[in-house]
């Protein structure tokens, strides 16, 4: 039932709005709304009960193992939420003078410093609201850099075919053409193809390392040199930073600009689709172009760095300070991990992934890149099951829901057929991983003996498989009585 269907004319949550209608008779009639909007008319209890029940129809990290590859669904410590939502922080108006927000700004400044250290970059801006906006920031800076050098003929960004969809979409938003680079059989960038593609038209390359194929790009230095020699810059998609935190730094690999997804590596919640935060780190040559605002510190007071100091800035990306509350959560998480905790993240994320990969291989599943180490994630391909049994990755994924596990990422990256991209994260116990393996083994047996169990899955969820074609053809995007 929808909230609108609980509605009853004249009912409302009386405690939540002023008790009377204040006088607005000075506003000319012509400006006023003729018909009230059709919002539900419900009591406070009805609202609480309705949305509590809706929440119970979700899978979440707090309730299920959620091995969604490329998404880093690790535990979101509760302290990060509680402490970021202290009244003093919630009450901060974004345009209030810095003298009234030194505590808040100190947290953001220290987060900037922490991120500089773990990425090996020269400077960090916290303002991008998510990974994709971080990508936009980075590529826009690459463009501003070339423009400032009078180097305006560069019109192409190179993107490996394994890249996330936001990479090519971002390059186009920044006015570039996209040139796709294939992947070799080992899961690395195809160096031959790359050599041919690089030229005077190359503005830069967008790389994810470890890549979305769950392997570390071993020839990264070679790639960096090749691009730099051609006058291009290297963009690092840091969605997979969890795998290398405290082990190797994008700055040391030769990247000029990077984004991090704090809603992955720094454990801020995904919230059913955001908010995230996508801070961007830069090398020295891109520092003048960083977006505003940035938090500065003169040893005495924290302050905003503005256009006066950064006249070449690409500008603003949002009205205020990006997703400040997410940044606060990431700061708290970073302080709790501390120096030692950082590399343990990579250690145990990698241990869990390699353990799961070993057990699933042993159970007869096909790994997409056998012989390679898993990073924090790895890919199983169900190509064989699809061919022999007509069972797809989708069928497997839906059946996992019946076993009370969230499905891994399916059909991404696009170049591995019938793939499951599996990322367990460091916060899961061995018992949880073992239970997942048992479920996978059972489902594999079902695929052979009673395939309809998979084909018709899920059986235990609030709904069965949904008619997506109908959803797109007979568009029903809003409710009406």
């Amino acid at each position: 039932m929808l909230i609108f269907e609980h509605s009853h004319s004249g009912r409302r949550a009386q405690a939540q709005a002023p008790q009377s209608n204040a006088d607005v008779s000075d506003i000319p009639e012509d400006f006023l709304r003729a018909m009230p909007p059709g919002l539900p008319q419900v009591s406070e209890l009805q609202v609480v009960r309705h949305y509590t029940r809706l929440s119970q129809k979700n899978f979440s990290i707090d309730t299920q193992f959620y091995p969604l590859g490329s998404c880093t669904m690790k535990y979101n410590p509760r302290a990060c939420n509680t402490l970021a939502m202290l009244p003093g922080f919630l009450a901060r108006h974004p345009l209030a003078p810095v003298s009234m927000g030194q505590g808040f700004l100190a947290c953001l400044y220290e987060l900037q410093e922490m991120l500089k250290e773990v990425t090996g970059m020269k400077a960090v801006t916290l303002t991008p609201a998510a990974g994709a906006q971080g990508e936009f920031t980075g590529v826009a800076m690459i463009r501003a850099y070339h423009d400032a050098n009078g180097d305006t003929a560069r019109n192409e960004i190179l993107v490996p075919d394994a890249a996330h969809g936001t990479n090519p979409a971002t390059a186009v938003m920044c006015g570039y053409k996209v040139h796709e680079i294939p992947t070799d059989r080992q899961g690395d960038v195809d160096m031959e193809a790359l050599r041919i593609a690089v030229g005077p038209q190359t503005a830069g390359i967008m790389l994810t390392n470890p890549s979305t194929l769950g392997v570390f790009e071993r020839r990264i230095k070679e790639i960096a040199d090749l691009i730099h020699e051609a006058g291009g810059l290297l963009y690092y998609d840091g969605a997979n930073l969890n795998a290398i935190l405290g082990k190797v730094r994008p700055g040391d690999m030769g990247f000029d600009v990077i984004h991090m997804n704090l809603h992955k590596t720094f454990s801020t919640p995904h919230g059913g689709g955001g908010p995230g935060a996508g801070p961007v780190g830069v090398s020295k040559r891109l520092e003048p172009f960083m977006p505003l605002p940035i938090v500065g510190y003169d040893g005495n007071e924290y302050d905003w760095i503005t256009e006066d100091v950064r006249p070449q800035s690409i500008g603003r990306l949002s009205a205020f300070m990006g997703n400040a509350g997410v940044l606060m959560r990431a700061y708290i998480y970073g302080r709790m991990l501390g120096r030692e905790g950082m590399h343990r993240v990579a250690d145990f994320a990698t241990l869990n992934a390699n353990y799961l990969m070993a057990r699933l291989t042993e159970a007869g599943f096909d790994v997409a890149f056998p012989g390679r180490r898993a990073t924090h994630e790895f890919i199983i391909t169900l190509k064989r099951q699809d061919k022999e049994l007509g069972i797809t990755a989708m069928d497997f994924a839906k059946r996992l829901l019946d076993y009370n596990f969230h499905a891994p990422t399916t059909y991404f990256p696009l170049l591995v057929p019938e793939c499951l991209l599996i990322e367990p994260t460091e916060t899961e116990t061995k018992e949880e991983l073992d239970a997942f393996v048992e479920a996978m083994i059972k489902i594999k047996q079902e695929a052979e003996n009673s395939p309809e169990l998979l084909k018709e899955a899920p059986h235990t969820q609030p709904v069965r498989r949904l008619d997506e074609v109908r959803a797109a053809k007979q568009l029903d995007l809003t409710w009406s009585a």
């Binding site: 949305y51 905790g341 241990l351």
Partner: protein, 466 residues
């Protein structure tokens, strides 16, 4: 090891299964010369009680001032139930609802949100959010350029009455696609768009006109006139709207003969705390003809294989994970949790509650203006009706007035000089439903004393204009 559950024996067994001696061996594909040293710049880890103490000290130090500032972020009442439910783990720690069957809670909630936003704006459809109001305006401009098939130009009319930081943000995001934002001036008397200045564009190819209403000065624009003018020129109309104001004022879908085409804006007033500037959420609604040009996630209602009603992400062929370089936008993660809060907030307030809040904001701001302009040194700048913000001119150097008020833990408003130097010592003030008569008296009283001190100290006072 914070948040890592492995015991020594777990580690031993796991390594044996993998067939390596130690964890370090798992990193053997990373070239040794790239490996980093110690993270000396990161402090030692803290246990929860220690980080809690630090954060409480810092939050305390920031002081919770009495807020008369608006300018795009507003201090409204948020029902306790909103964040109690929003931070339930099932909402808080879920991913984007790609696995529809295991995400019906989030999906149904977004469908309800889309319905509420369409109702509020008076338009047909809504998406599931963008990052914030300003970047949402940038997306609306990109969308209008795609959607306006009659226009070949990449020219957008951008009145100076639109929030200055929205204009800056839009420029950052659209300039690389050769889109031009043409400034339209405002009336010095009314503080609204100078319709005469639009005449220069008559007969020209313009993709869209942006109208913020109430505008940055809080002033009500001639939305009917402007909308009809734009449509006669073949331009689309992009409304930048305040969700609380829409409960009281004519919504974008009802502007002029045929309504605005796209409405976007900042969702923060709907249950989202000010929080230093974010996370907020941008909303976007449009006429149904343009839905395939919309950026961001959209949820649709459909049936499952047993004929039961269910909800799923739809029209995904617009999005980056399917269309890659041909997507309508690069947006992926959006502002889901804030949408959750806003939906619960709207359900709790309802149309009548939101309208009462809007009425109270307007009435309180009028009281505030009356109380402040009782001083000979303070006057209103514009003569048109306003919603819940007003621009005031102070006949003293503004900095000298603001600083002593800050010292009293009062946030007196937003200084307009940075963006509108022609207005001189001008302050944009706002009083939401949370400001009591006593709060307003406190502000007016302190301001009066500050002015008295300054004038007594022989500061020049410009005479009040007639």
């Amino acid at each position: 090891m914070p948040f890592i559950p492995h015991s020594e024996s777990d580690i031993r067994k796991m390594l044996a299964t993998i067939g390596v001696d130690n964890i370090e061996a798992l990193f053997d594909e990373i070239p040794a010369n790239l490996r980093m040293g110690k993270l000396s710049g990161v402090p030692e880890g803290l246990i929860e009680q220690d980080i809690a103490r630090l954060m409480m000290e810092r939050a305390e130090a920031d002081g919770r001032p009495l807020c008369f500032m608006g300018a795009g972020s507003y201090d409204h009442h948020i029902p306790a139930a909103v964040w109690e439910i929003t931070t339930r783990g099932e909402f808080y720690s879920a991913y984007t609802p790609y696995q529809a069957e295991a995400s019906q809670g989030t999906l149904q909630l977004i469908y309800e949100f889309q319905t509420m936003m369409a109702q509020l704006t008076g338009l047909d459809v809504s998406n599931a959010s963008l990052y914030d109001g300003a970047s949402g305006l940038a997306e609306a401009i990109l969308m209008a350029v795609r959607a306006n098939r009659k226009s070949k130009s990449h020219r957008i009319l951008m009145p100076v009455t639109v929030h200055p930081d929205y204009r800056r943000t839009a420029n950052t995001i659209v300039k690389n696609q050769n889109i031009e934002l043409l400034e339209v001036p405002y009336s010095p008397e009314g503080g609204h768009i100078l319709t005469d200045s639009l005449k220069a564009y008559e007969g020209e190819d313009i993709a869209a006109l942006v109208i913020q209403h109430p505008n940055f000065f809080g002033i009500l624009e001639d939305v009917d006139l402007l909308t009809d003018w734009a449509h006669q020129q073949g331009a689309l109309v992009i409304a930048v709207a305040n969700p609380i104001a829409m409960a009281l004022l004519k919504p974008p879908g009802a502007w002029g003969e045929s309504g605005a085409d796209i409405a976007c804006g900042e969702g923060q007033p709907l249950g989202v705390p000010m929080m230093g500037g974010g996370p907020y959420f941008g909303f976007m609604c449009c006429k149904k003809d343009y839905v395939r040009q919309m950026p961001g996630r959209i949820v649709g209602r459909t049936l499952d294989r047993d004929g039961r009603v269910g909800y799923t992400l739809t029209l995904q062929a617009r999005e980056q994970h399917i269309r890659r370089s041909k997507a309508t936008s690069n947006i992926c993660t959006n502002q889901g949790l804030l949408v959750t809060a806003a939906t619960i907030h709207m359900a709790l307030l309802g149309a009548e509650g939101l309208k009462r809040v809007a009425q109270a904001c307007h009435a309180n701001t009028r009281k505030l203006v009356a109380a402040l302009t009782a001083s000979d040194c303070v006057e209103t700048i514009f003569n048109r009706p306003y919603f819940h913000e007003a621009a005031l001119r102070i006949s003293l150097p503004l900095d000298n007035v603001l600083r002593p008020l800050h010292a009293q833990n009062i946030l007196p408003g937003y200084a307009l000089a940075k963006d509108y130097p022609e207005l001189g010592d001008a302050l944009l003030v706002c009083a939401t439903e949370l400001r009591s008569d006593a709060d307003i008296d406190t502000f007016a009283g302190h301001l009066g004393r500050v002015i008295e001190k300054q004038t007594a100290a022989g500061r020049p006072v410009k005479p009040k204009m007639a």
